[in-house]
Symmetry: C2
Subunit: 261 residues, 2 copies
C-alpha cells in the first residue's frame, strides 16, 4: 500500500518521534511505500486566512467556504495545500500521529485539516436530494482509503476510561475520527493510544513499540470502526436523525453512530 504519515510534533527526538520511526520501519519492512508530512519540519502554516486564497480581491470579504471552493475549482489553492491533497490522493492509508494536547489535535494539525480539506475536496462534495445529503460520512473524496490515529497522551489510561474524569477516549476522539476522518470518506481504524507518555521507561517503550509494529502489520486487515454511512438508510433526510430503533442496546450520544458499541 501507499501510506502517508502526517506527523505533528515539534521535536523529532520526542517519544512521538521515536514511535514514528518504529512505524515507518515496520511499514517499509512490510513492503509498503511511505511518505511523510512532518508539519513542524515543513513550517506548515497553521491558520486559515486570506493568504490561502489568492483569488480574493484585496477588498473582498473573506467567506472561507466560498473562497475555498472557488480556489479549489480553479486549481488556485496555495502550493503547500495542493501538495498535501496530492499526497492524500496517492495514499491508500493515512496515519495521523500527534500528542493529545488539551483533549484534541495540536493546533498545527487542526490547521492542516482546515486548509487541506478545501470546499469541493473535504466537504461540499456530491448532490443533495431527498435520498442523499452530499457525499459525506462514509462517502466522498477519500472513500476507499484507510485512516488511523497514533496518539500519545500524558494522562493515565484509567482517566480516559468509561468512568474516568477526562471522559472516554473513544468519545474524545469522535470529533476527529467521525467528524474529520469518516466525514470525507475515510474508513477509520481503531486508534493506537499510548498513555502516560511522559513517564515511559525502557520496558514500557519496548512494549509500546511492539504493539505499534503489530498495528502496522495489520493495517490492511484490521476491522474498522463501524460508523454508520449517512446515505445508507439509517438517517432521515434532511434532518439527519438516526431512525428510531436502530441504536445498539444502551447506546446514547456518540455511540448511536456506530452499529456496535
Amino acid at each position: 500500500m501507499n501510506v502517508l504519515l502526517v506527523f505533528a510534533h515539534p521535536e523529532p527526538r520526542s517519544l512521538t518521534g521515536a514511535l514514528r520511526d518504529v512505524a515507518v520501519a515496520e511499514l517499509t519492512a512490510q513492503g509498503h511505500r511511505v511518505r511523510l508530512s512532518d508539519l513542524y519540519a515543513q513550517g506548515w502554516k497553521a491558520q486559515v486566512d486570506r493568504a490561502d486564497f489568492p483569488v480574493l480581491e484585496p477588498e473582498e470579504r473573506l467567506m472561507v467556504a466560498a473562497a475555498s471552493g472557488r480556489a479549489f475549482a480553479a486549481g488556485a489553492l496555495t502550493a503547500d495545500v495542493r501538495a498535501e491533497q496530492e499526497k492524500l490522493r496517492w495514499a491508500d492509508a493515512v496515519l495521523f500521529q500527534f500528542p493529545l494536547w488539551w483533549f484534541g489535535m495540536p493546533a498545527i494539525l487542526k490547521g492542516w485539516v482546515e486548509r487541506v480539506y478545501a470546499y469541493g475536496f473535504g466537504y461540499g462534495v456530491g448532490e443533495h436530494s431527498d435520498r442523499r445529503w452530499g457525499d459525506r460520512y462514509g462517502e466522498g473524496t477519500l472513500a476507499g482509503k484507510r485512516a488511523m490515529l497514533l496518539v500519545t497522551a500524558g494522562g493515565w489510561a484509567e482517566h480516559y476510561g468509561p468512568r474516568g474524569i477526562n471522559g472516554p477516549i473513544d468519545d474524545l476522539l469522535f470529533p476527529i475520527q467521525h467528524g474529520v476522518l469518516f466525514y470525507p470518506g475515510f474508513t477509520v481504524l481503531p486508534p493506537y493510544v499510548l498513555y502516560r507518555a511522559d513517564r515511559l521507561d525502557a520496558a514500557g517503550f519496548a512494549a509500546a513499540a511492539a504493539h505499534l509494529r503489530e498495528r502496522m502489520r495489520t493495517l490492511e486487515t484490521t476491522a474498522p470502526i463501524a460508523f454508520r454511512r449517512q446515505n445508507g438508510g439509517d438517517y432521515t433526510i434532511p434532518a439527519m436523525q438516526l431512525r428510531p430503533g436502530l441504536e445498539a442496546p444502551g447506546a446514547t450520544g456518540f455511540a448511536l453512530h456506530r452499529t456496535e458499541r
Copy 2:
C-alpha cells in the same frame, strides 16, 4: 465585571464579527469593562514550538511541558503569551467566540490554548496526594471566573441534536467546555450556539442578536453547567473514576461528569 472576549475569525465583516459587535455593545451598555483578544488581527502565532521557550539551549531537546513550566516560573514566556495571561487574570468572565470548524475550535484558538495555558498556569497546578490530584477540574488558576462559548455553526440544529448525525452539540463541545475551560478552574456557562450561520437572513440575524444580548445581560446570573469537581469526593484518587452510583439516571459517557443531564 471585567470581560475578556477572545475572538477567532479571520474576517471582521463576518457574521461572527457582527455578533461580536452586538456582544461588546451590550456588555458596555451594562457597565462592564471589555477587553478583546482578536487573534487574527493580532497576528497570533498558532503553533507551539521552540520559539516559545527562549530558556531552551539551542541543542536541548524540546519537552513542551517541562520547557513551559521552566519558562513560566522564570517569567520568561514570550511577551504575547504573558499579555494574554495578564488579561485572563484581569477578567471576571471570558468569552470565546469562534466558528465551529471541523467540530472544534479554529486552529488559531487551539494554539492560543496550547501557548497561553503554560505548565504552572493552565495545568501542573497544586499538590498531588491521596485526597487531591492537583488543582484542576473546578479548581486552579482561573477559579472564580466565568467562561462561555459563542459559537457559529454552518450545519442545522437538528444535525447536532441528541440523535443527529454530527453528534450532540453538548458532547462535541465537552472537550472544550470540560477539558479546556473547567480544567483550569473556570465556571462554565451554557454556550451560545447559532446554527446555519451561512444562511442567515435579516430576520434571522435580528433574532440571533436579541438572543445574544439576553445572554450578555445574564452573564453574571446564568446558572453554570454542573460539572463535577475533581477533588469534591465524587472521584477515586488516583484512578479518577466516578464513584459507583453517582451518575444521573441514564447517564453514560461525558454526561457522567455533570450532576444533572
